[in-house]
């Protein structure tokens, strides 16, 4: 369901990539994840195999407890699998140390959370700048990149506003700008529209679609919302820690 972009024409410094090459960006082999609660061991993911192509916009769906957020966290380097192998861009991330994984996340992953997770004491532009503090960019370069990212999400006019001065949709767009600003390999979205009304959710999803289509960003999105999943190019359904259905979006 193509949705016309509601945002300004791209001025972002990322390389536009209207026809991305569809090679496997994320490769998951035999991945399991177990948690121990007292004497009980719970297996959340069971020997999962999955490839996600570069330039894909993948929606991960499934009931609560199906393991979709756990899978997303493993792909995003927020957690480590109990068994198996995860490669992103041919780099094996399941064996990285905590610090190495932090560096890898900073360089390769942009996170978008359900509740935006903006720092309330910082302005929109300062929130967006956060990932750039982990780079070697000068202050001037950071400022330029932040301005560009805010322009992409249509919030240039709100740069100096703090999160509590913005609507939910605007806060999520700031979060998207923060996820984009360091030009990551992957955008990882956990229920990005779970806290938004339908109209605002559509705007945010349109923006994500725009980033996928016009900037070639690979996006992996966990959602409960079937309508939200329609914006993706592919959908995967999970249940009890396993993939059950996959297919292209309607």
């Amino acid at each position: 369901m193509p949705v016309p972009s509601a945002f300004p024409p791209p001025q972002y410094t990322l390389k536009p990539d209207p026809e991305p090459v569809m090679t496997a960006l994320v490769s998951i082999r035999g991945v399991s994840k177990r948690y121990t609660r007292g004497k009980q061991t719970v297996e959340v993911l069971a020997k999962l195999d999955l490839d996600i192509a570069s330039g894909d916009f993948l929606a991960l769906m499934g009931p609560s407890g199906s393991g979709k957020t756990t899978l997303l966290n493993l792909i995003g380097g927020l957690d480590q699998p109990s068994d198996g192998e995860i490669r992103v861009n041919d780099k094996r991330i399941d064996q990285l140390s905590s610090n190495a994984l932090a560096k890898w996340r900073a360089r390769h992953v942009g996170f978008i959370f359900q509740f935006y997770n903006l720092l309330p004491v910082l302005t929109a532009e300062a929130n967006v700048e956060l990932p750039l503090l982990l780079t070697d960019l000068s202050k001037a370069q950071r400022k330029k990149a932040v301005a560009a990212a805010l322009a992409v999400v249509g919030l240039s006019e709100r740069a100096t506003h703090k999160p509590n001065e913005l609507s939910g949709g605007q806060q999520q767009r700031v979060a998207i700008a923060r996820a984009l600003v360091a030009d990551p390999t992957l955008l990882v979205c956990d229920e990005p529209t779970g806290d938004l009304d339908r109209k605002t959710a559509d705007e945010v999803l349109t923006l994500l679609q725009d980033l996928n289509r016009n900037y070639g960003k690979t996006i992996i999105m966990v959602t409960h919302d079937a309508k939200a999943a329609e914006y993706a190019t592919h959908q995967l359904h999970m249940d009890k820690g396993a993939l059950v259905v996959s297919g292209a979006a309607a």
Partner: protein, 394 residues
């Protein structure tokens, strides 16, 4: 460099969030202000007492006491011994060719204190004629010098501040006899300013004493001290102790500083422990309140060590603020505040609290140490959070 930038940015973010949790933050600030304020005030009392006693005396003067006596009050030197001592090696000669030696007699007089209106002891020092030549720092600032042979006294400015009825022109009864106050003196802020001075011969006569408590001796120069001491301690006619005047008065403050030192340690440790727990509580609360923020920052790529440093730095900054308030408070309320206490001779010694730069720095160091301890464990907790779990706290 990048590590430092990240850490500084995170510290700034942490500090920016302080106003949103002032209540919890005040615990650490007020706690440290209290600790540093009390410890600094106690130490300033000790510093003031030590400074007063250590400023008393000169390296070119020696004090002679009876062998084994630890203060002038418990010492007795006969007139015959005084004659021998006056002729010893190293004693400077006056214009009249006689040794510059002041035979001095210490007596205790009771006077009511201005502050409590209760009687307390004031030192009454009988001074020989050479006593004023030997002590050029003594200045009459009101009235005149006493006249030898008359029952007249001059009063140190701190004694005047502390006791009732020592104003120039008044008459005071001391041990059954009447004494006219004819002058007030200063003595470079030293311990003598807490005393009342009188002609030694008159005092001996009035109080039926036939010797001296001590002899104050002007030496040819400071290097003559050892020769002078040796000549006295090897003389079989004498059983005396000889000390440099500065050392003698320093030793008089030793017990006081030891007691204050113990008090500072006990109070400091108890209050410091309280402040550490307050800081721990504050910082654990801060970390708990910002679980999602910290997890988000870690998700974005900020390392655990940056989070640890920033959390500790936040605790230390708040502790430093508390320490500064405590130190400045101690300075504002106590620096220069004059009190008196019983000295080694069971007489009142007046001194002023001295909140020195060194004490302020010590207070800052103490608050930083407490801040570090208070921030360290919460920082570890923040850094060890499982990011995926902490993110769900939202």
């Amino acid at each position: 460099m990048k590590f430092m930038t990240q850490t500084l940015q995170l510290i700034l973010i942490n500090l920016k969030s302080v106003p949103s949790r002032w209540g919890a933050t005040l615990v650490i600030v007020v706690g440290l202000a209290g600790v540093v304020g009390v410890v600094t005030a106690l130490q300033s009392m000790s510093a003031g007492m030590v400074a007063t006693l250590r400023s008393t005396g000169s390296a070119s003067r020696a004090i002679v006491l009876k062998g084994g006596a630890n203060s002038e009050l418990s010492s007795f030197i006969t007139r015959d011994q005084a004659v021998v001592i006056e002729q010893a090696d190293g004693v400077a000669k006056g214009a009249d060719g006689r040794g510059l030696v002041s035979g001095e007699l210490i007596l205790i007089a009771e006077r009511p204190l201005r502050r409590s209106k209760t009687d307390s002891n004031v030192s009454m020092r009988g001074v020989g004629a050479a006593g004023f030549t030997i002590r050029p720092e003594l200045k009459i600032v009101d009235g005149r010098m006493f006249t030898p042979g008359l029952q007249e006294i001059i009063v140190g400015v701190k004694a005047l501040e502390q006791f009732i009825g020592l104003e120039v022109g008044s008459t005071v009864q001391i041990r059954g006899s009447q004494w006219a106050v004819v002058g007030t003196f200063t003595s470079n802020g030293d311990a003598h300013e807490s005393e009342v001075w009188v002609d030694v011969e008159t005092a001996q006569s009035a109080f039926r004493r036939n010797g001296y408590s001590s002899l104050l001796v002007q030496l040819d120069d400071p290097s003559a001290f050892q020769g002078f001491k040796d000549s006295l301690t090897t003389d079989p006619r004498l059983q005396v102790d000889v000390q440099n005047e500065i050392d003698y008065f320093s030793s008089q403050s030793r017990n006081f500083t030891r007691i204050i030192g113990v008090l500072v340690k006990v109070v400091g440790i108890i209050m410091g422990l309280g402040a550490v727990f307050a800081a721990l509580n504050t910082m654990y609360s801060a970390v708990a309140a910002r679980t999602v923020e910290i997890a988000t920052l870690r998700a974005l790529g900020f390392s655990g060590s940056v989070v640890i440093l920033a959390t500790i730095a936040e605790a230390m900054t708040l502790a430093l603020l508390g320490g500064a308030i405590g130190g400045l408070g101690a300075y504002a309320f106590f620096n220069g505040y004059t009190v008196s206490t019983l000295g080694a001779g069971f007489t009142q010694v007046a001194f002023s609290f001295r909140v020195t730069p060194g004490l302020l720095i010590t207070g800052m160091a103490l608050s930083l140490f407490v801040g570090f301890l208070g921030g360290f464990f919460p920082a570890l907790r923040a850094a060890r959070m499982q990011i995926a779990v902490a993110l769900r706290a939202s």
